[in-house]
Each structure stands twice: as structure tokens, then as C-alpha cells.
């Protein structure tokens, strides 16, 4: 073990933690919002959109993340550039940081997986809840926002926690499209003197720590949101 390397490299790898977390948070926020929309579209069988969503979800679930990243990384610049030309401006593709492409791929992946979670959570909320909301005179929007969504969210939280931890792990693949997150940084630092074992043990510990904290956080969320089920015999 090269302890000098560890002492020098650790702070540098730690500096990449915010990049990993940033990528994860933005992808989850965008992806879950899209996922909720897809869930509602498919639940209400909106024509065309719902068929399109089904194919999209199937594709995202079938294609490995690393391929999605590559497709996003190579296809989006072309799309962006030709869109630019069509509205008469020349977009400098090289000015777009690679993290953008990574986030788009990760967000779409999250959208697909979270849509399935939201779909089953929404259908798990008792129909009587909607009727009760109507019976006191609420509008559909009020019923959804105040009664249905909070209950569905409570049911979705454990699974959302699962795919979020998966997302954080998945960001390590952004290395292949040139994002200097934790794994890429460790790799870069290990290369010159072949300090692989040290670099990857540190990386592993960092990911384990992140997963541990995230699992704790989601557990707390779950307990908070599920307090109303306290008396229910599961």
C-alpha cells in the first residue's frame, strides 16, 4: 500500500463527490417528474402518448446504461446542431459539457423505472379515497395533490430509494463519456504510478458511505411518510 498516494489522492477524489451527487440529484428530479407523467399517461390510457410511453419504458429497461450513455453522447450533439441550423444559428457543440449528455441519459433511465413504481403505487391507493375527497367537494386536482399523491408517494418511497442508489452507482459509467466524477477521477489519479488497489479501495469506501447514508435517509423518509400506517398491521 502506498500511503503517500492515499493521502494525496483522497482529497482529490472527494472533490468529485459533489459531481456524482449533482448528476444523481438532477437526473432523479427530472426523471421522476417525467416518470410520474408517464405513469399518469399510462394509467389514464391517453391515446398515442400511452403507447409511445410503453415502448419508451421497454427500451430503457432493455438497453444497458453504458450504451444509453454512448447513444446520448453521440446522438444529441447531432440533434442539437441540426436543430440550431434549422432555426438559423450555429451552435458550438464543443461548448456543451459532457455531463449534460450523461444527465439526459440517466434522467430518461430514471423516468422509465420510476414510472413503473409510480404506476403501481397509484393503483395501490384505495379508490374510496378519491370518492371520499369528491364527497367533501374537492376538485380532482385537490384530491390528487392532497390525498392521492401523498399516499402513493409513501408507498413508492422504498422503491424510489432503491432506484436512486442504483442511479448513484450508475453515474460511475459517465466515466466513459468523459465526466470526471468519482470513478473517473480515481482512475486518472491511479494511472501514472499504477496505484489501482489504493485508488479503488478508496472509491469503494466512498460509494459504500454514500449508499449507507442514502439508505438511512430514505428509511427516515419512509418512516415519516408512513406514520399514518402505524396502526395498520402491515
Amino acid at each position: 500500500m502506498d500511503f503517500k498516494f492515499i493521502i494525496e489522492a483522497l482529497p482529490k477524489i472527494m472533490l468529485a463527490v459533489p459531481i456524482t451527487l449533482f448528476m444523481s440529484l438532477v437526473s432523479a428530479a427530472a426523471g421522476w417528474l417525467l416518470g410520474l407523467s408517464i405513469a399518469l399517461i399510462r394509467k389514464h390510457r391517453v391515446p398515442v402518448l400511452s403507447q409511445f410511453s410503453a415502448v419508451f419504458v421497454s427500451f430503457m429497461r432493455g438497453v444497458p446504461m453504458v450504451i444509453l450513455l454512448y447513444i446520448s453522447y453521440y446522438a444529441l450533439p447531432i440533434l442539437l446542431y441540426s436543430y440550431g441550423l434549422s432555426i438559423g444559428i450555429t451552435i458550438d457543440i464543443n461548448a456543451v459539457p459532457p455531463i449534460v449528455y450523461a444527465i439526459i441519459a440517466l434522467a430518461l433511465d430514471q423516468a422509465a423505472y420510476s414510472s413503473e413504481i409510480f404506476r403501481s403505487a397509484l393503483s395501490a391507493v384505495d379508490e374510496g379515497q378519491m370518492e371520499a375527497a369528491f364527497s367533501v367537494g374537492m376538485t380532482r386536482t385537490q384530491a390528487l395533490m392532497r390525498i392521492i399523491f401523498p399516499q402513493a408517494l409513501a408507498m413508492a418511497i422504498p422503491n424510489l430509494g432503491g432506484i436512486f442508489v442504483g442511479l448513484v452507482k450508475g453515474t460511475s459509467l459517465a466515466y466513459y463519456v468523459g465526466v470526471y466524477e468519482i470513478t473517473a477521477t480515481a482512475n486518472l489519479l491511479a494511472m501514472p504510478a499504477l496505484n489501482f488497489i489504493e485508488a479503488y479501495i478508496m472509491t469503494t469506501l466512498i460509494y459504500e458511505a454514500i449508499s449507507f447514508v442514502l439508505n438511512k435517509l430514505f428509511r427516515i423518509c419512509e418512516d415519516r411518510l408512513k406514520k399514518f400506517r402505524a396502526g395498520a398491521s402491515a
Partner: protein, 234 residues
């Protein structure tokens, strides 16, 4: 930047990439078998009464679920030989496929263990008691009563785990194995990246198609297996 994307050429790359299909299949099948065996072992330790095996099983699952597969691959492929060298073992002759199988088996075994545990616990307690009541021994009760029911419950999750494992085989390219993804990279670098987008899309389609088939098989298996039996889910 010029739009060089030629969608019409995508189908032409599919047979080419598919030539690496046997490699991917080999990795998938061997990893699957090992991960099932390993998962069963971890589950047995996890649901047993002895304290230490239980704690180790819990720690193992938490660890494997916290580490990105890519990092695990780097840790074992690049880090482990260095570590082995220190204690005088030479791992340089071991083939890359062995490394990738080891990594995928380890990471998938945690998911398999979780699945097995959940299915085992989902079988009604009364079933075991009923088996004992007719005089069955513990092992007989497990083999003839508990396992067949737990298996029925596990089929959907097993299908998901196999799909996840299949998608993860795409990471074999990270250490230079020529699997589907490795082949795609090879084809694209042979043309200096000119056709990379088309090749990756072709590879994505292969994975997608294979996953649809896997999902279909999982549904059929579940249908056939649970036919006439007590509906296992919900």
C-alpha cells in the same frame, strides 16, 4: 460539425455485433449459475438462527448493493492482482473472462439472495407447520412444500435479476473482453469512430430484443408454473 448519421446502415451492423453473442451468453450463464449458488448460501446464512453467519450475510448484501459494478470490476481486475502479488500469488495468467464472471457473480448474488429471502418469507408460515404436522422432516418440508411455493413467488424477481445481469455483461468491455459491447467498440474504432452512433444503436437494439424475449420467457414460466396453484402474489 456535419451530420454523418446514417440510420439506414444500422441493421447492417447487427449481424456483425451478434458475432460476439456467444461470449456474452457464456458470461451470462456461468455468472447466473454461480450467483444463484452464492445467493442461496447467503440466504441460508441470512435466515438461519446463528448470529455470525447472519451478520456476515447482511454485511455482504449491503456491501454488494453499495458498490457500482464498474468499480467492483476495476477493484478486482486491476486491484486484486496487485494485492495478490504482495502475498506472492500471480494472477496475471488468469483470463479476463474469469474476472468478469467473478465480478458479475458477486454483484448479482446479492440481488439473488434478497430475492430468495423475500420469497422464502412470503410463503405462509402455516405451510411449514402443516408439513411438520404430517410428519415431514425439516429438509423434506423445505424441498417438497416450501421451495416449490417460494419458487413460484420468485419467478418475476428472478426474471428481473437475470435481465439486470444480462445488461451488466455489457461492462465486460471495460477490461477488454470482446462481448457484444466490446465488439461494438471494436467495430466503431476500426472505422475511427465514423459509424459509432449507428453501431451503438444496433447494439442497443440487440440488447432490447433479448430483454423482451427474456421478459416474455419469465412471464410464460410464471404462468405455467403457478397454473392451478394458489395465486402466489398479493
Amino acid at each position: 460539425m456535419e451530420n454523418t448519421f446514417k440510420p439506414a446502415t444500422i441493421p447492417g451492423y447487427i449481424p456483425n455485433v451478434l458475432r460476439a453473442f456467444p461470449v456474452t451468453m457464456e458470461i451470462l450463464l456461468i455468472s447466473l449459475l454461480i450467483s444463484l449458488a452464492l445467493g442461496a448460501l447467503v440466504t441460508a446464512a441470512g435466515i438461519g438462527k446463528r448470529k455470525w453467519p447472519k451478520a456476515i450475510a447482511g454485511g455482504y448484501i449491503a456491501f454488494m448493493r453499495g458498490i457500482p459494478t464498474l468499480v467492483l470490476i476495476f477493484l478486482i481486475y486491476l486491484g486484486l492482482p496487485q494485492l495478490a502479488q504482495v502475498v506472492g500469488i500471480d494472477l496475471t495468467g488468469v483470463s479476463k473472462t474469469v474476472f468478469i464472471v467473478a465480478c458479475l457473480s458477486l454483484s448479482s448474488s446479492a440481488n439473488m439472495a434478497e430475492m430468495m429471502r423475500a420469497s422464502y418469507l412470503a410463503v405462509d408460515k402455516g405451510q411449514k407447520e402443516a408439513a411438520y404436522s404430517v410428519g415431514m422432516k425439516e429438509f423434506t418440508a423445505f424441498r417438497r412444500i416450501i421451495f416449490p411455493q417460494a419458487f413460484g413467488i420468485a419467478i418475476p424477481a428472478l426474471g428481473n435479476n437475470i435481465i439486470m445481469l444480462f445488461k451488466d455483461t455489457s461492462l465486460a468491455f471495460a477490461i477488454g473482453v470482446i462481448d457484444l459491447m466490446g465488439k461494438a467498440r471494436a467495430i466503431s474504432s476500426a472505422s475511427y469512430g465514423a459509424n459509432r452512433l449507428e453501431v451503438y444503436i444496433a447494439t442497443g437494439i440487440i440488447f432490447w430484443a433479448a430483454c423482451i424475449i427474456l421478459e416474455y420467457c419469465s412471464k410464460i414460466t410464471e404462468k405455467i408454473y403457478t397454473k392451478g396453484r394458489k395465486k402466489a402474489t398479493s
